[in-house]
Amino acid sequence: MTVRLTESLAEEIRRHGQDAYPAECCGALAGRIGADGVKEIVRLAPAVNRRTDDPHRYLIAPDDLRRLEAGLESEGLEIVGYYHSHPDHPAAPSAFDADHAWPWYSYLIVRVDGGRGADLTSWVLDDDQPRMDPESLEVLSEV
């Protein structure tokens, strides 16, 4: 599958990562499935990171998620994935990410290097193995 977002949304994810640095940021990706089967991200839905004990972890709580989904439904949107930051670590999923991943969702990871947002990548859970596979990420430059 492919996931598509605009450059300004990509920038917003980097900014969120920078703001949370050195802790991790996290949020949901609200969007819809396009006519060509591509996941189109319409906007970000930043979430509260419920893991305050450890800057290397994030958690979006089920109650928060239920509220968020109910709100999106009225806009005709759904959650197509999530994003989080890896402060001073590569934009690749950790074993912990893979252990906790849900199928189908796109997991965007932004590397935040010394407080500056860097690479942005997208990953999806493998169909058979508990590992993440890279997913093609289309960043649209805006006119």
Binding site: E24, C26, A28, A47, R51, D53, D54, H56, R57, Y58, L59, I60, A61, P62, D63, L65, R66, E78, I79, Y82, H84, H86, P87, D88, H89, P93, S94, A95, F96, D97, H100, A101, W102, P103, W104, Y105, Y107
Partner: protein, 477 residues
């Protein structure tokens, strides 16, 4: 009785694209079993190998998480909606590479922990990785270090300078009769490593001081305060605030105890609660006032509990709350604590940026020089033989202490009653004040001298020194 199971988008690939499935069953567990039987692909994403729900999979029965109900045993009725709700978790790779693995023997040892989703393998590995510093191996330090060791905290540092005394064993259960007279650190280390050889006990022999506190505390994740005196308590607090460490606090007196977690990054510190120490001598220590042996067991266990919860990240911590326990009434009360914006160390404009002289801060050591005002037990015996009844011995302890032991011929006037009973004493007589170990009698001496009694001296070391060196037949306590 059909129940509707609502399937979230990411799992619809396993239900043929359907967003809801109707299934029969009388409990959540039965419905779940049928769901997995009908759509086998779901199993990998919802269940652990041991047949329990994965920790980040949540089931809501209508609007309530089943973990708040009876879990999978929760009964369901027709028309109920069971919703699968994801928790979304992840993180950068730092921690898991650092968390130590559990050996097979450890898995077995901690199996009752591993059964709790709130602990699990990750929580147990966190406990193994954790470094906890306990200040004191006494009444509070005993139960808390025992429970921390049993729970599998990887490294327990202990600071203490004392030796095991017979009067300790009524409550200091980490020590034993076989370790009487040995250092508390060696005694505790032997017991803790016997309880759990996986635990690394780091012994810091000596007192915690302003000179060494930062260097010792720096190497630990959490500090548990089991001290029995105010200077050390302020020292522990300030060191923790300066280094950004949580301070799991507990204190006990007679039948009452308190506990809290001071963490200045998120809540108040000890100074926010008690800006100033009480005047020296106002609050008796356990050695002076006594303590029920079980009480430190309860408060120390609360401290161990809070420490373990902190490490595994479970539940609500005591940050911002003070728990008060009354053993005689068997009652817990809770006070909300607020951060003091004017706190000199964790407030908006802190004035304390380094450790200070805590003895001086608590008014200890600032007392006048008493030399010449004290008499040794040996000299007192000699003078008494010479002067007889002209030398008045005033015992200022409490009546129940008098019952344990007293010196023949002494007059009992408890310290609290002394100011009102001055008339019973002859202003021209030579007076010697006496208590258990010489502290309270020094206050009595000050009262008497302040009231114009000219010839007053204090029995150095009190009845304890007397029993040790003059009258060995007398009971000591």
């Amino acid at each position: 009785m059909p129940v509707t199971v609502s399937i979230p988008t990411p799992l619809r690939g396993f239900t043929g694209g359907r967003d809801a499935v109707a299934l029969a069953g009388s409990t959540v567990g039965e419905v779940l079993e049928r769901l997995l039987a009908a759509h086998t692909g779901l199993k990998r994403h919802l269940m652990q190998d041991d047949g329990r729900l994965r920790t980040f999979v949540n089931l809501y029965l209508n609007d309530t998480d089943i973990r708040q109900l009876e879990s999978t045993a929760t009964p369901v009725t027709e028309g109920d909606v069971l919703t699968i709700v994801p928790s979304i978790a992840g993180g950068s790779p730092v921690v898991e590479t650092e968390l130590p693995k559990l050996a097979h023997a450890e898995v077995l040892r901690y199996s009752r922990h591993l059964l709790l989703p709130e602990v699990g393998v990750e929580g147990q590995r966190r406990l193994k990785a954790a470094r906890v510093l306990t200040i004191g191996a006494g009444g509070l330090g005993s139960p808390l270090s025992l429970y921390l060791a049993a729970a599998g905290v990887g490294t327990i540092g202990i600071v203490d300078f004392d030796v095991v005394d017979l009067t300790n064993l009524q409550r200091q259960i980490v020590h034993g009769t076989s370790t009487l007279g040995t250092s508390k650190l060696a005694s505790a280390k032997a017991r803790l490593t016997d309880l759990n050889p996986n635990v690394n006990v780091e012994a810091h022999e000596g007192r915690l001081t302003s000179e060494n506190a930062l260097d010792i505390v720096r190497d630990y994740d959490i500090v548990v305060d089991g001290t029995d005196n105010f200077p050390t308590r302020y020292l522990v607090n300030d060191a923790c605030v300066l280094l950004g460490k949580p301070n799991v606090y507990g204190s006990i007196f007679r039948f009452e105890g308190q506990a809290s977690v001071f963490y200045a990054k998120e809540g108040p510190c000890y100074r926010c609660l008690y800006a100033e120490p009480p005047p020296p001598g106002l609050v008796p220590s356990c050695a002076e006032g006594g303590v029920l042996g079980v009480l430190p067991g309860i408060i120390g266990s609360i401290q161990a509990l809070e420490t373990i919860k902190w490490i595994i990240g479970a539940g609500d911590s005591l940050v911002g709350r003070l728990v008060l326990f009354d053993a005689l009434k068997l009652r817990f009360r809770e006070l909300k604590l607020r951060k003091d914006p004017d706190c000199p160390i964790c407030g908006k404009n802190p004035t304390i940026h380094e450790l200070i002289d805590y003895e001086a801060f608590c008014g200890i050591g600032a007392e006048p020089d008493y030399s010449g005002l004290e008499i040794t037990v040996e000299d007192f015996r000699k003078e008494r033989e010479a002067k007889g009844a002209d030398l008045v011995l005033v015992d200022v302890r409490e009546p129940h202490e008098w019952e344990i032991a007293h010196i023949d011929g002494a007059r009992l006037i408890p310290l609290g009653q002394l100011p009102d009973r001055l008339g019973e004493l002859d202003g021209h007589a030579e007076i010697v004040t006496q208590c258990h170990k010489g502290g309270r009698s020094m206050k009595a001496l000050e009262i008497l001298r302040g009231a114009g009694f000219g010839k007053v001296r204090n029995l150095a070391g009190g009845i304890d020194a007397w029993a040790e060196r003059v009258e060995p037949g007398l009971a000591r306590y």
